[in-house]
């Protein structure tokens, strides 16, 4: 049965509620435009809200993301749809786009939920927590993470056994298993694509032993271990809960390597690894930290100074590409690498290995646009039609792009590109 679509009108549609989408939405809203932000996951904040501290200022990421997120979610000119998918966007003419959007049911009435977490306690199902990148478990009835926005419970219907335990304990009775998806037809005058990037999945590269090696984690998992809202309140290696004392970073995991399908540099991994190394030296003063790198790309404002600071703190940097990681019986890992300074093949043992995974394009935005083609570049990032003079312009007039959707970007660059996209959008709305 085809249900009637709910019709809504806004000035601008922002696709993606990460830091770039949020910044673009705020810029538009502060200039008086009505904005709809469509986010596919349960919370806005993107990847930044999951980070520990950010380079080179070592600001607590949660502390600078939450106020932005809070501003976005309260702004009278901004409406947010989380847990929502865009099915299609059609351009009918200049300043005339129609988007079909589905809001998936979260089986919890958003307005009534108080985030009391009683449903979480009652739920008997335990699955891996995707927001902690699989480090710990969560329930099938759950609050996504402690600083999520909106802070509302959701039912993971794929894993739910429909036992009804959550429904019984919910004080406002806001769990509703009969909830259906809602369909919308949204008319807007302009759109900003802020769909971000994907993280490289290291399980596709056998020699990294990401799946077999219990103590090989990704840098995003390390972010979670270091975050203020961290799962263990300290740094533990997964196999036996030991506090590690010899940690290795493997840079360019999934970057600068055609064999892994990504010839370019991911632009963020050097700096976040250096940052994590500094944080680890604070958290585990006795631990040795070694970074295996090809080149250190500390190019932004204050970045090289931050890198020098890490060196002076005692982080060991080894220029050498990692060939193979193999696990020993005690859970330690042996890294085989070519030491560039001697030209010799060497092996080193570490008790915890972090793969500094790179960025991959999110190809999704291309499929959203139906009547006109949103072109991608050779690397599958959103193509910039005028990359030098109008970096936010896409191949569709009136559709702009912000953040890492056009290529890997750190947070300051993402925010600047979001500012750029909103200026282009306002100019377009005024044309």
């Amino acid at each position: 049965m085809q249900t009637e679509r709910i019709k809504l009108t806004y000035d601008a549609l922002v696709i993606g509620g990460g830091i770039a989408g949020g910044e673009a939405a705020l810029n538009l809203a502060n200039n008086g435009y009505k904005v709809l932000v469509v986010e596919k996951s349960l919370s806005v904040g993107g990847k930044m809200i999951m980070l520990s501290k950010v380079f080179p200022t070592l600001d607590c990421s949660a502390c600078i993301t939450t106020p932005k997120v809070s501003e976005i979610s309260r702004h009278p000119n901004i409406k947010i749809f989380t847990e929502s998918d865009i099915e299609s966007i059609e351009k009918l003419g200049e300043h005339n786009f129609v988007a079909k959007v589905t809001r998936r049911p979260r089986y919890v009435v958003e307005e009534d939920c108080t985030a009391c977490q009683l449903c979480e306690e009652a739920c008997p199902v335990i699955v891996k927590d995707q927001f902690q990148y699989g480090l710990v478990g969560r329930k099938a009835a759950y609050i996504p993470f402690s600083i999520c926005s909106p802070k509302v419970a959701a039912i993971d219907i794929d894993n739910c056994t429909l036992c009804g335990a959550c429904e019984k304990v919910c004080p406002p009775g806001c769990i509703d298993f009969t909830m259906k998806a809602k369909q919308y037809e949204i008319s807007v005058k302009t759109a900003i694509v802020a769909t971000g990037f994907e993280l490289f999945d290291p399980s596709t590269v056998k020699r990294y032993s990401y799946q077999e090696g219990k103590n090989v984690i990704t840098s995003m998992q390390m972010e979670r271990l270091l975050a203020p809202t961290r799962p263990f309140h300290t740094i533990l290696r997964p196999s036996d809960g030991k506090v590690p004392d010899k940690i290795a970073y493997v840079l360019c995991a999934g970057s600068r390597d055609d064999s892994m399908g990504n010839p370019i540099c991911s632009q963020i991994c050097c700096m976040y690894s250096i940052k994590q190394a500094q944080l680890l030296m604070g958290a585990l003063p006795m631990a040795d930290i070694t970074i295996y790198y090809i080149d250190i790309r500390a190019f932004g404002k204050g970045y090289d100074e931050f890198y020098e600071q890490a060196v002076s703190m005692g982080v060991r940097l080894v220029k050498g590409k990692i060939g193979k990681i193999s696990e020993k019986e005690n859970g330690n890992l042996v890294l085989r690498y070519e030491d560039v300074s001697t030209g010799k093949l060497k092996e080193a043992e570490h008790d915890f290995v972090v793969l500094s995974v790179g960025a991959k394009p999110n190809e999704e935005p291309q499929s959203l646009f139906k009547t006109q083609k949103l072109e991608l570049d050779n690397l599958k990032y959103v193509k910039q039609s005028d990359p030098l003079l109008s970096p936010a312009k896409t191949t569709i007039e009136g559709v702009f792009v912000a953040g890492a959707a056009t290529g890997p970007k750190d947070i300051p660059d993402s925010i600047l590109s979001a500012g750029c996209a909103s200026t282009e959008a306002i100019s377009y709305l005024n044309s």
């Binding site: 600001d59 600078i64 600083i147 203020p228 100074e305 750029c420 282009e424």
Partner: protein, 578 residues
Amino acid sequence: MKKKLGVYICACGGNISDYVDIEKVREAVKDEDCLVLAKTTMFACGDTNQKDMEQDIKENDLSGIVVASCSPKLHLTTFRGVSERAGLNKYNYVHANIREQGSWAHSDNKVGATEKAINLVKAAIAKARLAESLEPIIIESKRSVAVIGAGVAGMKAAISLARMKDEVYLIEREGKVGGHLSALEKISPEGTDGRELLARLEKEIAAEPNITLLTNAEVTGTSGNIGDFKVDVTIKGSQGEMVKQFVAGSILVATGFNSYTPAEGEFGYSNIKSVITLPEFKALISEGGKADADGTMRLYYNNREVQSIAYIYCVGSRQVKGENKYCSRYCCTAAIQSSLDVREKFPNVDNFHFTRGVRTYGKQELIYKESNDKGDVYIQFPDKKPPVVSEENGKVLVKAIDILSEKSESEVVADLLVLVTGMVPDSDTALGNLLKLPKGRDKFFNEIHPKLRPVETVIDGITIAGTCQGPKNVAESVNSALSAAAKSHSFVSLGELELEPIVAYVDNDTCNWCTACSDVCPFSAVSMIDHNGKAVAQINKSTCKGCGMCLPVCPSDSIELISFTNKEMESMIDVLAQ
């Protein structure tokens, strides 16, 4: 009527609570006079807590709140927003910084950090008891922006502002616009010609009736404040100088960079003839070619053919001994692009790159790959052992230790040595001083916060764009320019602005106009007026920033700062001194 206060003590997810026992702080302050509520919270700034605070304020009819968390620089507006939404005048909220001034500063002393936090919170409570409701100062904001500097950043900002219907004054000190753009024959990644880009921008500027372009023009005076800057521009013409005055609601600074000039003898510069800088090399590629008999293009420098070129990277950047500690960001890519250009135009040229690790970040990696594939040679020298350059039979000998080949010594005899020079701040510091713009350690203009407010400066209404904030390539400059345009536009688009009412005021009865206050005021906010036949000081509310500089110098103690009155400060000191 007695105040009803609420106190919130934030754990900052461990940033505070790892060192400060916040429960102990709560216990210690909960019975303070006027307090009806004292709570701890995981993240005071979190959405849920903000909602709880709103509810608390309404339900308990609070007439003031104290938030003890991070620096007010981060969250002052957040908690003012909470107050306003709950119907509480936002100046009845007082902040205590127990993170930067507590947990972080005393992470080695948990007992002391907790004790200090208790005192800071008690002092804030004392201030909150006396805090008064205030109304913001509303001023009119002129819908015009002064853009200073007409390089690529300034030009793009001006065009965008004009298209957002703002009136724009684009001020360029040179006789023509474009900055460094016209010197860029080929811009990575697609080899775009900078001169073509410039022609496009010039055309777009000419087509915008909202842009007034002033060339040979320098800003020589500014006064006023956000919404109402009075700008004096001195224009040099054939008839001499003239001064033009106009009013702008916001100022966007895009004054660009200078290319680093090597010191005499730095890698042989100015001592050895065949040592040139990257910008000089770019000019040579476009001008120094001659075709030989069979039509092959050959490169000449000083009438000698150039067949081998050495490049030394990081000249003037990442200095081990010098002052420039920063990476200039654009030069690795720019140098490799030039080396590809020279190869393409002059097929018989060989390139030797002496680097400190190539930083072709992001998609720029592809040109590094291309350069490697085409056979360019890369040598990486250790940070602390730069190459040694000498002259040999009219050629340049470059010797370096190569960490890419077991630290062996590499020698290249080249016809030409290119010093890959970085970006340095504009040597003309007059404008920065005039506008009182702060600079970072790298001497570029400083933003308020690289992530939260990357294009704003501490001077309200003045934004920064492009390379005057730090090294950037063309696309990055444009991103920052349009970002700054968005911000400047938001200062002027609504026609009026709310200013902070925390300003100084003068007691006319006791003031004797000794000029001490006007002498120290960094914002020229003090003027003399007549009060019943007596000269007294008057403070311009919209220019005063509430910095308090005038207070301690007043011999008759005639100046008070709203929200930081003597009474309030003394009450805080009394608590801290107990």
